[in-house]
């Protein structure tokens, strides 16, 4: 007996189910397509989301023991007040946290960046910092400890404008300076929500700025000897004892906020994916109902010849489950493929799947099959409970 015959003998229900599906190829294919979409949606959103999260979390690495301090900007009588930290404020920060490093950041409002050829870099932001090497690694070029008169740019600025160390950019900051700088280094990519938005930033040495107003200060504690919590509390006591003057946020907290926020967004997206599986379930239920109605008399014959109700239910549920399984079998590799593309894009390694990411592919597969099975139950039950006399009329 050839193996196929053997299989048919062993699993007659599956063999019958498969043949029945092949009778309405297009209808079956559409039902499978619906499952594929659902599985891909859940799997790709899941793995992609995890890759994105991984990418973002990497950006926070090296920011342990770091907090940002910003003036609590007020809007009063049509004017913005308390927009800057003064040199005096920076001094008070340093006094309040003697063990910490305090780095004032210029974030000028009216700043423009142009290439030598005169193209405006709309997306680029300009920040004045004493030493970006404190936080960032250079991808190309070097960031010297005694950094002056050159600029350091974020990875996206470099990519979008095809810039390398040695190229020049013209930076204009209203009321401060307007001159051309050589690019000393391009930073490693930091990710979308990196604390200083480094990827889109052109860092200019703080020494280029004459004003003593800073939009932000970074407070950094060596976590082996000090505690950022204590530093945060000390700053709160110093500035915010009577009223809120500055906002202090630990980067670690931001990271947690990000994680929580991202978790919500991801769940929402996966919910959307799940809805597409729900649509698949409706499609399958419809396919199976049609099949059951079409084959009513045939099912009546099965029943007349002594197939128990259970056998009829198994047959039709097997059909719908096969639709789900085939959909999952096609959808899972697609989801993994999309996941690999996203991994490559965000993490630089197609195989950088996390366990959580792969779990979503698994969830997609399981959901696809289980939804199909459940969708088949009602039509199957209905078909099996039709009395054979009625079905045979």
């Amino acid at each position: 007996m050839n193996p196929l015959r053997w299989l048919v003998g062993r699993f007659p229900t599956l063999a019958l189910a498969r043949r029945n599906l092949s009778r309405a190829t297009l209808r079956s294919a559409l039902a499978v397509a619906a499952v594929v979409i659902g599985v891909v949606a859940i799997g790709a959103i899941g793995t992609g989301g995890e890759a994105f999260k991984q990418d973002q979390l990497e950006a926070y690495e090296g920011f342990g023991g770091t907090a940002t301090v910003e003036p609590d900007v007020q809007f009063e009588d049509g004017n913005l007040t308390n927009t800057e930290l003064s040199d005096g404020d920076i001094g008070r920060l340093r006094q309040a946290t003697p063990s910490a490093t305090v780095l004032p950041v210029h974030e000028p409002v009216g700043a423009t960046v142009q290439t030598q050829a005169g193209t405006l870099l709309f997306m680029a932001r300009v920040k004045g910092l004493e030493n970006p090497g404190e936080f960032y690694e250079a991808r190309n070029g070097t960031i010297s400890d005694n950094w002056r008169r050159t600029i350091v740019i974020g990875s996206r600025v470099a990519e979008q404008n095809d810039l390398q160390p040695g190229d020049r950019l013209r930076v204009n900051v209203t009321d401060e300076f307007d001159r051309s700088f050589e690019i000393a280094a391009v930073l490693e990519p930091q990710g979308f929500s990196a604390p200083l938005g480094a990827d889109q930033t052109v860092f200019v040495p703080a020494s280029e700025f004459e004003s003593d107003g800073y939009e932000q200060a970074i407070v950094r504690v060596d976590t082996t000897t000090g505690s950022i919590d204590e530093a945060t509390q000390a700053i709160e006591r110093e500035f915010n004892a009577r009223e809120q003057v500055v906002r202090v946020e630990q980067v670690q907290e931001q990271r947690e906020q990000f994680e929580a926020f991202f978790g919500t967004v991801n769940q929402f997206l996966i919910g959307v994916g799940a809805i597409s599986l729900l649509v698949a379930a409706v499609t399958i239920a419809n396919t199976m109902l049609m099949a059951a109605i079409e084959r009513e008399s045939e099912i009546g014959v099965l029943r007349a010849y002594g197939y128990p109700k259970r056998a009829v239910v198994s047959l039709l549920v097997a059909e719908s489950t096969i639709l789900g399984a085939v959909g999952a079998a096609i959808g899972a590799p697609l989801a993994l493929g999309i996941g690999m593309a996203i991994n490559q894009l965000l993490l630089g390694d197609p195989l950088a799947f996390t366990a959580a990411g792969l779990r979503y592919v698994g969830i997609g597969i399981a959901f696809g099959i289980v939804t199909a099975l459940i969708a088949g139950l009602y039509p199957a039950w209905k078909a099996a409970n039709k009395r054979p006399v009625e079905a045979l009329d």
Binding site: M1, R5, W6, V8, G9, R10, P12, T13, L16, R19, N20, S22, R23, S297, E298, G300, V301, L302, R303, A304, Y305, G306, Y307, P308, K309, A311, R387, P388, V389, L392
Partner: protein
Amino acid sequence: MTPDPDEDGFDAGTLGETIATDPIIRGTDVVKEYETGGQIVRALKGVDFSIAPADFVAVVGPSGSGKSTLLNLLGLLDVATSGEVRLRGEDVSTFTDREQTRKRKETIGFVFQSFYLIPTLTALENVEMPRMLDRTPTKTRERATQLLERVGLGDRLDHYPDELSGGQKQRVAIARSLINDPDILLADEPTGNLDRDTGDQILELFDELRSDENVAVVTVTHDDYVAEAADRVVTLIDGRIRDTESRRANFEEGPDP
């Protein structure tokens, strides 16, 4: 109303004379009503019947007279509204659906007028179908092949229904009805699509089955030659048995009435 057994029944007296065995299925004062939209249709108005092993009964009568209804009751596809139907002495109205299904499989073979072959299965697989869940594929295959050869389709085993003529489909349906080794074969117009020669072959097959395997055959027919071949002809008119004609012509073993 109470039917007169002498007039309406398959005639208990005849039964005793034909075969000295217990009937396979027996009905007493069987009434079948259908309810459609609040209206009650009496399809059978109190009939008696009795089918013994190796019987060959032809059921004739005008359209709507209740022939299919009777066949459905004999085949445990439906239950009587009143009266009693006993399968080997057991009241069928006490059977659960599961028991009914099992008894159908053990006892009854159906040949439906419109064949109801499964289009995705070959002739051979269609014949195997009633036993496909039995997990005895080799035995089933042997038996199915044998049956198809017996109905003259040994060279059409791997043809799909749409590659068979009407008469060939009919014969596949007959082979299929025999795969479970039934005690009764219930056939609704089994020769309706066949030319006389093929029809005669089917009748020969029925005879073989009766003499070799004691299979009883109950067939609804409009063909005179089929009715003539039967050893009893039951005429149904408007839900009542009008006339039971007994013959021995085609059944050597029985004594003359």
